[in-house]
């Protein structure tokens, strides 16, 4: 197979753990979500901490969409029509998604898009 040509495929690695070196970009921070809270409140702390990264990632998706459809109509569609789906999504996910949008300031349709990305891209 073409893919087995080195250096893209390498000998099985050993001694990589504990993670270190150039393939390790950092540890992952722990958070707690209290399922006893109302769904719209659950993600507040995480989104407060990660707001800038979330806005940045959504903007990159918008830039990409606008590169394909320069008129901006694709993002218009997301912003105007996807919020209509949110109330059809099952509880408590619909309320959590609304909470994420409120906490981040990202338009609801764009948060919905982020959350249903998998279903859109399985083709």
């Amino acid at each position: 197979s073409a893919q087995f040509v080195p250096p893209y495929t390498e000998e099985c690695q050993t001694g990589m753990y504990p993670p270190k070196g150039p393939t390790f970009k950092g540890p992952v921070t722990w958070y707690t979500i209290d399922l006893d809270l109302p769904p719209s409140e659950r993600w507040k702390l995480i989104i407060t901490d990660k707001k800038a990264a979330l806005v940045n990632m959504i903007q990159a998706i918008k830039d990409l969409a606008n590169a394909f459809v320069p008129s901006g109509k694709l993002i218009d569609l997301v912003d105007k029509d996807l919020p209509l789906i949110v109330n059809t999504l099952p509880y408590p996910f619909n309320e959590e998604i609304k909470g994420v949008a409120t906490a981040s300031g990202v338009p609801l349709g764009e948060v919905v898009l982020y959350n249903i990305f998998y279903e859109i891209f399985t083709v």
Binding site: S1, A2, Q3, F4, P7, Y8, T9, E10, E11, C12, Q13, T14, G15, M16, Y17, P19, P22, T23, F24, K25, G26, P27, V28, T29, W30, Y31, T32, I33, D34, L35, D36, W43, I46, I47, D49, K50, A53, L54, N56, M57, A60, I61, L64, I85, T88, P90, F93, I97, V100, S104, V111, Y114, N115, I116, Y118, E119, I120, F121, T122, V123
Partner: protein, 253 residues
Amino acid sequence: CTSLVAEDSNGNLIHGRNMDFGLFMGWDMKNRSWLITEKLKPLVVNIDFQRGNKTVFKSTNFAGYVGMLTGIKPHAFTLTMNERFSLDGGYIGIVEWILGNRDGMWMSFLTRSVLENATSYEEAKNLLAQTKLLAPAYFILGGNQTGQGCVITRSRVLSLDIWEIELKLGRWYVLETNYDHWKEPLFLDNRRTPAMKCMNQTTQANISLKTVYDVLSTKPVLNKLTTYTTLMDVNKGKLESYIRDCPNPCMPW
């Protein structure tokens, strides 16, 4: 993605995964990386979901993504999902949903419901295999007893196959990338063969979180789409995750 569940010589089950995401979503020529993949890395978080101040399940998530792709119900089961591409894909499910046909479940909402509500490997397996979905998927599930590890290959409606650990046949692990296990992977995207080579080289006697991390750190199992690696030990209730990078030379997928 690459996910695996392996059983060590003492009957303990170990579950590992590389989360690969962002294919064809903008290539950064300067940094030779996928744009969305890099933007997702700062969003990776571990979450301890609690009720009454007690852990219900733990997950590795992208912040603000309310479904689950990687998680553990401590002392009960571990679960990851890998993307399964199909022409009968999720966009059809979305159209059906919009038209009012809402008997299917959104993939990541199902995995979250399973992590939240199922209490055993068997219950989780039945829910993942039998619930109608909006999109096809691979579910990789590990339990807490010998032989409890499987890959569930799902179409939107059916469970096409359940491939389980079978020690009697010498199958001490199951490993899934993004292709049906009974078919050859795409020749340009074969992470399965290198991953299996490393698992076989490791041997059951030496399998551990440490050696699974080694397997998941070997190119092209580790590639430019890899955002994080998660390792889970169900009996210890342990989940650990690491944000990854794949320095050049490295396969774009």
